[in-house]
Symmetry: C2
Subunit: 569 residues, 2 copies
């Protein structure tokens, strides 16, 4: 039976319990959110000792299913004050699954300035002093731990900004090359990890028992359907699919074409220099320089949306340079320069901060005149300020809401203090509904309610689409499948329908995706209600209703009454 | 009939309307809160164009009543997100009353970087360019406007921090000497004023029509009862009362004796150096140096709680050096030095920031190690950072909640993001109830529920006392009487009972103080509810329930259930 491991950071003691009782049947986001909702006082301070950091692989982790490597990290968020689950690929989830660990629950605080890392292997879990890792950036942290514990370990770690407990701090997870390039970026989970005095988690699956399948043949059959659906789809096919060739950045051109691509702090919906940073530009640049396209960064990945971006001399700069980063640190800062954004992506990864929140913070600082829009070196300088924890860096490193307040601005693109992803809600209105109503704050992965057609601009039907996608994502985040599969798995090719049978075959259950997703959302919304959130918090900032976005000159006009009714679930 | 004057800062147009309809019968806080509640969208951004700044004298303003010089300034608060009324003494309220102006309502924003000041006199209200006042500190601003418009004007003005729209920005009001020493400090009303592009309000009551009394004789009779009560009370007697001799700082010794005097960022309840800054120290220092005790700073003041603090050479440093400032910038920063706190008080007044919020911010910065506790010159340096708008200054200048977040702290003494005044709620539990439940955030003036005896430590009865004082203060803030009268006017000497007849005599009404106060509180709480606030926001931070305060080693243990029930009003 799968286990929950509890680590008391104050005493250094660890304990293990069966995944049973109220937690039976849960995994990934379903498990992190339920543990947080049951055990964390809703009104506690997110950086205080009563918060808990929960790390849980999805239900399919450890199996041979494709793209099942998502790791859920949950806690009360220091950015939003809500419950939070931020999930990430890389190499840790699969190993925890093989070790039959359902969740690691970090409780209380280590003594001040006494950081630790946790080693997890087939013998158990042990805390080790991490004094020599203090202040280290993420790539170095991962490398040192791999040197010490072997290249086969998966590592999750925070950078200096997590140690500073700033609200944009991410948790980095090592990719298959050992780079700290995968990040649970949203909501400051790295700050919670820092507050606990936890610098890293090292997971070694050598001699792991592996997954116990209740019905291995049924699992294989369903897994094959999903794999075939992915392999045969032109978006997700290995090597030749659009994701493999253009990464997730294939989306930039159509979003820009629709006029919903946020530019210069959400003042325009089309970016003049879009061709310099879009999917084609990324593909051509990487190919010409001998970087890596169709790169598999995460365990069991066959879609290969990752990439390795190299400089003109062919030297490694960063990995997994993606759309959201190119929106936030590119167009939204009026920076149409792939090399510059790649350098910034690496810096964000090294310091351990969310690229989306950071890009929005920098764009606000640009609006305030701290550095001009389009000032690449200025923006890079601001990232170093964050990494060094200067006062300016502490403003930016706490995100868009704090940056806006620090400079007395009132056009601040946040919901529940979390910055918008790269889709302007005045055009992509279904995503606007998700931003407003997700229990996580503004988050496109909480429910990607977009068709990338003119229909997105029609307020009718957006609520239903958002709710449907939010429910399904709550399920997908719980089984640990990568969101990228949704570009290949469809109702037609049976890919979607194959997911539930896989889970049922592993565990001998009879679950239903919609019921599962709804239950997770309900649990999350109940925590938020107990923490004082109301429908009034499920709103976009006022200026999105009054300030038309060029060139479509539309505003966000979905009915909140309709949304509130739907979100009662 | 009294008038409401509306000033559209975008168009420069002003208009006048009778105080009637839903605003009839209202004044001071009752009027500012009702206008904000009726006219400001609860979910708007406090610094956005939809917020309104409302400036209203109390109902007794312009009369010959003693100590009726309070001016209410209201808006949605950029600090707390709640409705806010911050009131201040000085010389403006009385003049507005004489001009029969019930409220000035500032709407929309002036064009960027085009500040104005408003001149109000018997001929009407006119906006004037204030480019030459841009960036000026408050004393200079007031002086220049007095030079231009004559020494008989009253001036309300913001300093550079209000222009920067930081959430601790106050609105300064000139005292009877023309010093910008009186401040509506709480909740960032100066930032709202700055967002409107309004640098100052100049009020000239020459040739003002004066108050129309419906029953002058009844008014005189009631006013005489109150005056006599004040004059004959040992706390409030002119020249010889404890307030005249020791200012409001007479309270420091008993609060410290009880163990409720917040020291070193609320980690201790007694200050080792209390004798260096208490009422005796203040009295003796001012007297020895030839400063002014029993100073009347505000129109019609006979209690004389103000003072003029001079340096060893007898040069003016600041006026109205009071308990809250000596707590926040003194004990709470471990600074037992009257001269240092006096200099800091002046700097806060000059830059236009709340001394309480600022002292708590600096104490948090000290806890984070930015400067050491007790470092006077370091603290003064931090004040200059605020005034200059450096990144560190912008953190501190946005208050304790932002400072705590910037440095990753979790022991942050705020409710609804507003810093505590100088009474630890673990000892003075009735004030803890007020901090938690006031619609304004942590604010002692919203309901001074303390007896300054051991009874304050008993959780029983604190809710009832807090509610009673909150209701009465909502009434007192509406008629514009100074809170200091409550130290002299009692049930026994008839001073309390005389207040309502005064108001009724002026207006020909038949009001009731409790009903009036309850109605104001209800209006305020309704706005907050519509803005998304719930009982979960009516809570003290978790550590006040778990971390005992030395030397009494008590925690805050009043029943929230009891409190929530009472606050349903």
């Amino acid at each position: 039976m799968k286990k929950i491991v509890r680590i008391n950071m104050a005493s250094g003691e660890t304990s293990m319990e069966n995944l049973s009782g109220e937690y039976a049947g849960l995994g990934g986001r379903g498990l992190t959110s339920t543990i947080v909702a049951r055990e964390v006082p809703p009104l506690c301070h997110a950086l205080g000792p009563q918060n808990k950091l929960v790390v849980a692989p999805g239900l399919l982790a450890g199996t041979s299913c494709i793209n099942c490597g998502r790791l859920s990290i949950g806690a009360k968020s220091p950015l939003t004050g809500t419950i939070k689950e931020s999930n990430v690929g890389g190499t840790v989830a699969q190993r925890l699954g093989q070790l039959q660990i359902a969740a690691l629950v970090f409780e209380q605080h280590a003594p001040a300035d006494k950081p630790f890392y946790l080693l997890v292997n087939h013998e158990g879990t042990t805390l080790h002093p991490a004094d020599d890792l203090k202040g280290l950036k993420t790539y170095d942290t991962v490398q040192r731990l791999r040197t010490k514990h072997g290249d086969r370990v998966g590592v999750a770690a925070i950078g200096p900004v997590g140690e500073m407990r700033l609200a944009t701090a991410s948790v980095a997870v090592s990719d298959r090359d050992g780079h700290a390039s995968r990040h649970a970026g949203r909501g400051g989970m790295g700050a919670v990890m820092g507050s606990k005095g936890l610098k890293a988690i090292v997971v070694d699956a050598v001699e792991a028992p592996g997954v116990e399948y209740q019905d291995r043949e049924a699992f294989k059959a369903a897994a094959k359907i999903l794999r075939t659906a992915i392999v045969e789809n032109e978006a997700t096919a290995p090597k030749t699919g659009s994701q493999a060739l253009y990464s997730m950045n294939a989306i930039m051109a159509p979003v820009n074409e629709l006029g919903g691509f946020p530019t210069r702090n959400f003042t325009r919906g089309k970016f003049a220099d879009v061709r310099k940073i879009d999917g084609d530009a990324l593909h051509d640049t990487i190919k010409a320089r001998g970087g890596v396209l169709n790169h598999s960064g995460c365990s069991n990945c066959i879609i290969q949306c990752s990439n390795v971006f190299v400089d003109p001399e062919g030297q490694y700069v960063t990995s997994a340079l993606e759309y959201e980063t190119l929106f936030a640190l590119g167009a939204n800062c009026d920076i149409g320069d792939l090399d510059a954004v790649a350098r910034m992506d690496r810096l964000c990864d090294e310091y351990g901060i969310d690229t989306m929140e950071t890009g929005c913070s920098i764009a606000l600082a640009m609006e305030a005149g701290v550095v001009p829009f389009g000032d690449t070196e200025g923006a890079i300088g601001l990232l170093h300020e964050i990494g060094q924890g200067t006062p300016l860096g502490r403003i930016l490193g706490n995100g868009a809401a704090m940056t806006g307040q620090a400079y007395g601005l009132h056009r601040i693109p946040v919901v529940k203090r979390q910055a918008f992803p790269g889709y302007d809600p005045r055009v992509l209105k279904g995503l606007g509904v998700t931003y407003a109503s997700s229990p996580m704050g503004a988050d496109h992965t909480a429910g990607f309610a977009a068709e990338l057609t003119a229909a997105d601009m029609n307020p009718e039907g957006r609520v239903a689409l958002s709710l449907e996608t939010q429910v399904f994502m709550a399920f997908l985040d719980s089984i640990g499948l990568c969101m990228a599969v949704l570009d290949g798995a469809t109702d037609e090719n049976g890919g979607i329908a194959a997911m539930v049978p896989m889970v049922n075959a592993v565990y001998g259950w009879d679950i239903n995706a919609e019921n599962y997703g709804r239950a997770v959302l309900k649990t999350e919304r109940a925590f938020n209600t107990a923490a004082g959130f109301t429908p009034q918090d499920d709103r976009l900032p006022e200026w999105l209703h009054t300030e038309p976005l060029p060139p479509n000159n539309t505003v966000f006009d979905v009915s909140y009454e309709e949304m509130d009714a739907a979100m009662k679930l």
